[in-house]
């Protein structure tokens, strides 16, 4: 059987062993040689499960119950596990999310690459294998000399490790390659390089790639086709440009509206509600409970596959209505409050901070005024979190001074008075670690009340409910534990805990980076509204340049512990002066740029 597609997946179903609860079902897609299919979806949508199933693999406790995965016409799932094992790495290979844990820390790079080849019987001699190693390393833009090959994984940077993982995946010239969010942990600059490498290699060797990702901007830059997953089903499949310009499924449409843009001209809109978890999926369309186009028919049966145009398929009863309202109708961004010339809330002068003996901040100067949002942008390791923690009194080891409303702040939060601690509130990056798992949401949010206002009982409960409503959480969460909430709900609770103290300055440290895009948009929306209504100053720390235009008036760009550029957001983003800012801007993947490039 010959077919034009290098990879064909037909009617794939994966379920939990024992309970037979479906994780994903009715997943079908195909990828021609040389093409990249972007498999996008939010956390829990089953995209990684689908990616692994292409290799005939499932996580423990799950099993592939039905369907076919054909690689060049051969059904991988019909093979014995031993045969399948010999295919992996040769015919189909996998690049994991975290290269740091994928490479064996005890083996030298050269040895690991060599193993990949000899395992599949490549080459008649060591010389032949060495030539192939040099060739693949060259393709991923790494040196192939002996000193490099003799290194251990920990001696490489994250980007280099990911390149080695790519080289290993491409070494045997596979027909199909599955990439599972390979750039998640990388900086934008490194990410841009890795993406370009993936695209070139797939084209050059005619490899069909499945790129699993939650980041639509990345997928838009890289993929030829996109498949959107929601709650274990593919809801829309189509060519990248068609899909993002004229989304036919309401979910895709909402997802696109939730992507932050560099231009910031459109409002960021989140998707209310949560995706149903396996075992709790409703009859009918899984998206129906959150859908604005919903009709009675949607609750009866899951919609069949409809063809919009050749190659663009959607599973929605009402796709024609969705198509009519084109994406151009996207609402414009609300106006940011004007900057007022006011006395500074926080002034940072000549701050030099160190972690142990390593200096991470060099001579940092920054001002945050009341009612103003300052974005602090930088890549990981640029020192932005350290600066935020210095302000909050959580990082004591610094020289220079930070003054708050004219008074120099003591370095440690313990040395500060109650008033100052109340005025400066900090929201942490990960809501999974910032809420005590053994306390209820009510207890967690009530904690600052007890310390700052000496209120308890009914009054405290009332104030907690008000704070919850501010962040758009229902009072029913009061007696829940953090693990019973989704990531977005937890982050809202964390913001409520900060707000209940009635702060003058809110320091937000990467508050959306652990969240899905649709949730991120909603959180940004909450923050923007708080800032408009509550007159608080906001220091918004982020690595995502596309987020800041929606929220901030001013921006400070950090690199290697120094602020390289500071100014009004519009000025800096439209006419960047520092080399670093220019590079950051051009490397940030964006939907608009990708769409513009595709014509």
């Amino acid at each position: 059987m010959s077919s034009p597609h290098a990879l064909e997946v037909e009617g794939l179903r994966v379920e939990l062993e024992g309970s037979r609860v479906e994780i994903l079902d009715e997943v079908s897609f195909h990828v021609p040689a040389g093409h990249v299919l972007g498999l996008v979806g939010e956390s829990g949508s089953g995209k990684t499960t689908a990616g692994l199933a292409v290799l005939g693999h499932t996580r423990r406790g799950a099993r592939i119950a039905a369907g076919e995965v054909r690689i060049e016409g051969r059904n991988v799932l019909a093979l014995s596990s031993l045969e399948r094992q010999s295919l992996r790495g040769k015919l189909v290979s996998y690049v994991p999310q975290d290269p740091g844990s994928a490479l064996n820390p005890a083996l030298r790079i050269g040895k690991q690459l060599e193993e990949t080849l000899s395992e599949h019987g490549f080459g008649r001699s060591a010389g032949e294998r060495r030539a192939r190693i040099a060739e693949t390393l060259d393709e991923v833009l790494l040196p192939s000399d002996d000193t490099f090959l003799r290194r251990y994984p920990h001696q490489l940077s994250g980007g280099q490790q990911q390149r080695v993982a790519l080289a290993m995946a491409f070494a045997n010239r596979p027909r199909v390659i599955v990439l599972d969010e390979p750039t998640t942990g990388l900086d934008v600059t490194t990410q841009a390089h890795v993406l370009a490498t993936v695209r070139d290699l797939c084209l050059a060797h005619g490899v069909a790639a499945v790129y699993v990702s939650h980041d639509l901007s990345v997928v838009a830059t890289l993929a030829t086709d996109v498949a959107v997953m929601y709650s274990g089903r593919l809801v829309e499949v189509g060519p990248t440009s068609a899909l993002f310009r004229q989304a036919a499924h309401p979910y895709t449409r909402r997802l696109v509206q939730a992507i932050p843009e560099l231009s910031g001209e459109h409002a960021l809109i989140g998707i209310p509600g949560n995706a149903p978890r396996p075992g709790l999926r409703p009859p009918g369309c899984f998206f129906a409970p959150r859908c604005e186009y919903v009709r009675d028919v949607c609750h009866v049966a899951f919609p069949p596959v409809e063809t919009v145009i050749e190659g663009h398929e959607v599973r929605c009863y009402r796709y024609e209505a969705v198509l009519r309202e084109s994406l151009a109708a996207r609402p414009a961004a609300p106006l940011r409050p004007e900057l007022e010339a006011e006395d500074a809330l926080v002034t940072i002068r000549g701050v030099q901070a160190s972690h142990g003996s390593r200096q991470v901040l060099f001579d940092v100067e920054l001002v945050v005024r009341p009612r103003e949002c300052v974005a602090l942008v930088g890549e990981s390791g640029s020192g932005k979190t350290t600066l935020a923690r210095c302000i909050a009194g959580l990082h004591k080891n610094y020289q220079g001074e930070i003054s708050f409303r004219g008074d120099v702040l003591p370095r440690s939060c313990r040395a500060r008075d109650r008033e100052t601690r109340r005025d400066i509130q900090y929201v942490f990056q990960s809501p999974y670690s910032s809420l005590n798992p053994r306390k209820t949401i009510g207890q967690i949010i009530g904690q600052p009340l007890r310390l700052f206002f000496d209120v308890g009982g009914e009054e405290a409960r009332r104030r907690v409910v008000v704070a919850l409503e501010r962040v758009e959480l229902s009072p029913s969460v009061l007696d829940r534990y953090p693990h019973q909430l989704s990531g977005g709900e937890r982050q809202r609770a964390a913001i409520a805990r900060a707000l209940i103290a009635e702060p003058r300055l809110l320091v937000c440290d990467e508050v959306t980076s652990a969240l899905d895009v649709s949730v991120q948009a909603a959180i940004i929306d909450v923050l923007a509204e708080l800032q408009r209504d509550l007159d608080i100053g906001l220091l918004f720390v982020t690595h995502n340049l596309a987020l800041i235009r929606t929220l901030s008036q001013e921006v400070a760009v950090m690199s290697e512990g120094r602020i390289v550029e500071r100014g009004l957001v519009d000025t800096v983003l439209d006419h960047p002066e520092a080399e670093y800012t220019k590079k950051l801007l051009s490397d940030t993947p964006s939907l608009e740029a990708a769409m513009a490039a595709s014509g």
Partner: protein, 302 residues
């Protein structure tokens, strides 16, 4: 989230599948293990007979009721001991001391050890080193030898026995508590509590302690089963309850010479101590499996 009218769009939270308190989940998880049920049954039986036994004893434990070493065929259910006292009555009276002393000692060791472990983990640095190295020094004494040295210098006193066993329990508990807490104190919710100026004591008791209860509960049951044996051993050696009062350890010592003619006064307390140790470790095992997320039947939770 519709832009603008945000107050109206409160996010609805679907009811969670399970609304269990973490504590309850731990105990329920343990209960589902067969071994926990067996352990609890044994504990109930032996603990019940030790605590309530005196009310059912047919004679006083110090009363001479039969010729020495009478066998069950001659007298009562289990015969008489070396001085002619009823074995069953002495057995029923003698469990109280072993049980209360070992529970008290374990409690003391748990409280001291947990406090030291948490403070060490939270403060870190020099204090951490100083506390934990002291614990290591204590740990290097064999438990029994330490108790013997203390008892030998002060003389056989019940409070001393509790103190000795408690102190030797402490370093083991401290290590477990510190190990579990070190991870917890690095989490952001501890930073969050510090940033709003929560006092150290409240952070330790309210934020750190509830997150390390799992391993501590397991450790407590392990220590208890170990301490039962140690306390029984010490009273066998004569450092616990003094004659003529009844005590399981003491009974074994008193009657070991007559083992061949009348085994019951030795066999009965030995079996009781053995089963008590097994029962507490079964419960401990069930708890630790529940903490590790293993369900009954040995399968890992999905």
């Amino acid at each position: 989230m519709s832009e603008g009218g945000a107050a109206a769009t409160v996010v609805e939270i679907p009811a969670p599948a399970r609304r269990r308190r973490p504590w309850f989940a731990l105990l329920a998880g343990a209960w589902h293990q067969g071994r926990t049920k067996v352990g609890l049954l044994l504990l109930l039986l032996l603990g019940g007979s030790a605590l309530l036994g005196p009310y059912f004893a047919p004679y006083s434990p110090t009363e001479f009721v039969a010729p020495p070493y009478s066998t069950p065929s001659d007298f009562g259910w289990f015969g008489a001991d070396l001085l002619g006292r009823d074995v069953l009555s002495r057995f029923l009276w003698g469990g109280r001391s072993v049980l209360t002393l070992s529970v008290l000692a374990t409690l003391m060791g748990m409280i001291l050890g947990t406090a030291i472990g948490l403070v060490a983990a939270y403060s870190g640095g020099l204090l951490d080193d100083a506390l934990m190295r002291t614990m290591d020094v204590l740990l290097s004494f064999p438990q029994l030898v330490f108790a013997l040295v203390l008892a030998a210098t002060v003389g056989p006193q019940l409070w001393l026995l509790v103190l000795a066993v408690g102190i030797t329990t402490m370093p083991r508990v401290a290590r477990i508590a510190r190990g579990a807490a070190v991870e917890v104190v690095e989490r952001d919710f501890i930073r969050a509590a510090e940033a709003i100026g929560e006092p150290r004591r409240r952070i330790l008791l309210g934020d750190v302690l509830p997150n390390v209860t799992g391993p501590l509960v397991v450790e407590a049951s392990l220590r208890l089963s170990f301490n039962i044996a140690v306390v029984a051993g010490l009273s066998f050696l004569g450092f616990g309850i003094q004659p003529p009062d009844a005590d399981w350890g003491l009974m074994i010592n008193e009657n070991r010479n007559g083992l061949t003619i009348q085994p019951w006064p030795v066999v009965l307390p030995v079996a009781a101590i053995g089963l008590l140790t097994i029962a507490t470790s079964l419960v401990g095992d069930g708890l630790s499996r529940s903490v590790a997320g293993i369900e009954g039947g040995g399968r890992a939770k999905q």
